[in-house]
């Protein structure tokens, strides 16, 4: 199922004009705060009425200003996961989870309920009130509540922003499972490059109310022209596969024929793994470097060089492993005589791993300096 979104809305001093498609899987609305992400999600949910536009999931039209269609929020069947959870304080966790089934025609499905409660690990919390839950627990219940309302799409508005790092890594795997198991579109609002790199199947980059780029996550994130958070936060995502585990505590990955070494990962050989390589963690070299402590070196060719206003420049490399981004100074780029087509080597200091399927491994997310 694909969600088609066209929204035009005018605020004081801000124009939103966005058009994109969200296929099944996680579509990340990616941009700074104030770029219009939440406005879009609220318009899809029916909590905000835009000046013009159309939102439809296949033939299920949520609104279409040209045809005068406007479904009220309660008839849209969206599962909205809010940033602050918004659990009902007067209801128990169980009642919160079932709230969405109170008003729908279909009977509650006990098997589905059991599956969701198990997946989210909230079985022990069912009789508690939301006030007695931690931030991470609240957010897990909020996810469950949205899932159990039998939604046609899921909207998640920075569901991790209010949580600390530990709680975030507690919730992230559930979104990965959701992405891999649910067949409905998930709109995921985020201004965190790491979250987007780890979760998104599709990325819609937003800047000042406009869509600057949309497409598969690996493509959009490796495009040096698309830096909704500024060049400092740029980074590419590579799809790899676990090759084997070494005795010295390292796991070897295969990135399109090039080996990458990361700290031990609790995943069986053959498991697909996504790694995010931040542009500022990449060093470029014209010769194959020798006598270097860094283990991870990928060879490729310069594809594009983009300079901004500052002393930095963003270089994209075409490698057998996929597209890579490197943030270096303009001075270095000139010293190395970098130009499109020039062969060069990317030396990576940090490789952050985001397992493709956390469900099967349950191990920690590795990130290390190598």
């Amino acid at each position: 199922m694909t969600l088609s979104v066209t929204i035009q809305h005018r605020f004081a001093g801000f124009d939103l004009d966005a058009r994109f498609e969200a296929p099944a899987g996680i579509t990340a609305l990616f941009g700074r705060s104030g770029s219009g992400k939440t406005t879009i999600v609220n318009a899809v949910a029916g909590l905000l009425r835009p000046n013009a536009g159309r939102v439809a999931a296949e033939d299920h039209v949520l609104f279409d200003t040209a045809r005068g269609v406007w479904l009220p929020p309660h008839r849209r069947r969206v599962g909205y996961i809010f940033q602050e959870g918004r659990l009902f304080p007067h209801l128990s966790v169980r009642q919160n989870l079932r709230y969405g089934t109170w008003f729908s025609a279909q009977r509650p499905r006990p098997a589905e309920e059991k599956r969701v409660i198990e997946m989210l690990g909230i079985g022990a919390l069912l009789e508690r009130r939301p006030g007695a839950l931690s931030g991470g627990e609240k957010q897990r219940v909020a996810i469950g509540r949205a899932l159990l309302s039998a939604p046609r799409m899921i909207l998640a508005d920075e569901p991790l922003a209010a949580l600390d790092e530990a709680r975030k890594s507690e919730i992230l795997p559930y979104f990965e499972r959701l992405r891999d198991e649910a067949s409905i579109p998930i709109l995921f609002v985020s201004h965190s490059a790491a979250e987007v790199a780890r979760l998104a199947t599709t990325v819609v980059a937003l800047e000042a109310g406009r869509v600057t780029r949309q497409g598969p996550a690996a493509e959009v994130l490796a495009d040096p022209a698309v830096t909704p958070l500024g060049a400092r936060a740029a980074g590419a995502v590579l799809s790899c596969r676990v090759t084997r585990h070494h005795d010295d505590g390292l796991t070897e990955l295969d990135a399109g024929g090039t080996p990458l070494f990361i700290p031990r990962l609790g995943a069986a050989p053959g498991t697909p793994v996504r790694v995010r390589i931040a542009a500022h963690d990449v060093i470029l070299s014209r010769q194959r470097p020798e006598g270097l402590s860094a283990l991870n070196i990928i060879s490729g060719r310069v594809q594009e060089i983009r300079s901004g206003d500052g002393p930095g420049t963003l270089v994209s490399l075409e490698t057998p492993a996929g597209r890579l981004l490197a943030r270096i100074t303009r001075r270095s780029a000139e010293a190395l005589v970098l130009a499109p087509g020039v062969a060069c080597h990317a030396v990576m200091k940090t490789v952050a791993v985001a397992p493709e399927d956390i469900g099967g491994l349950g191990g920690p997310t590795g990130q290390g300096l190598l």
Binding site: P73, H74, R86, W102, S104
Partner: protein
């Protein structure tokens, strides 16, 4: 209980009945007014706000006289109601009407405060989960403001128990008909040797008012905890 005479008992019972009806019938319109004032934007909102609070600031005698002019047997509303057999003037129902009007601002204020404490974001969340506006109100808004409604009702009830000026102006002071507790105290003080009876009724009044206040405080604290969700 022997220490209250039959006439005194009559006044206490009548007062309880008048206050109960005043509160029960006052609740639905008070909830509507509170909701309108807390949530809606409409022209003339200041007028509604003023009208609701008018009984609080007008001299009760004035309120009573206005009631007499409107709901008296020859008043514009009273004469119409008389056709269908509803009479307020010089009946206990009139005392209940007067008490209800006087308690109305207290009911509205308590409910408006608790309504304003409800996070509209919770109501939005309920809507995205499939609840229509009526269901949102019944399953989210109402349970969250229920302790506020009860607290307001208790205060309103206590206010109705003590209403004197508007009642005596509108429906006079007829023992067994319209002689409520405060009217009875007033009447006992007018006759020689009535002080002891008056004092006993004063004790009843103080007891009722104090328990109402304590109950309402307790309910308000509960409301706070309930909204906090622990």
């Amino acid at each position: 209980m022997e220490w209250l005479g039959p006439e005194e008992w009559q006044a206490v019972r009548l007062s309880l009945r008048v206050s109960l009806w005043a509160t029960l019938f006052g609740l639905p319109p008070a909830l509507l007014a509170a909701y309108a004032l807390a949530r809606w934007r409409f022209p003339g909102k200041w007028l509604l706000n003023g009208l609701v609070h008018l009984p609080l600031i007008l001299p009760p005698v004035v309120t009573g006289y206005l009631l007499l002019l409107t709901f008296g047997t020859r008043g514009p509303v009273g004469s119409v109601l008389q056709e269908i057999g509803v009479v307020f003037a010089f009946r206990w129902t009139g005392a209940a009407l007067a008490a209800g009007i006087m308690a109305f601002p207290l009911l509205v204020r308590a409910m408006r405060l608790s309504l304003e404490a409800v996070d509209p974001k919770l109501e939005q969340a309920a809507a995205t989960l499939g609840a229509s506006r009526v269901w949102v109100f019944l399953t989210v808004t109402l349970p969250l403001i229920l302790p506020g409604i009860i607290a307001g009702s208790v205060l309103g009830f206590a206010k109705a128990m003590g209403e004197f000026g508007a009642t005596i102006t509108f429906v006079s002071n007829i023992p067994g008909q319209t002689q409520t507790l405060p009217s009875a105290i007033y009447a006992f003080l007018q006759v020689p040797g009535g002080e002891s009876a008056a004092l006993r009724l004063v004790a009843v009044s103080v007891a009722v008012a104090m328990s109402a206040l304590l109950l309402s405080e307790w309910l308000a604290r509960r409301a706070q905890r309930r909204v906090a969700g622990t």
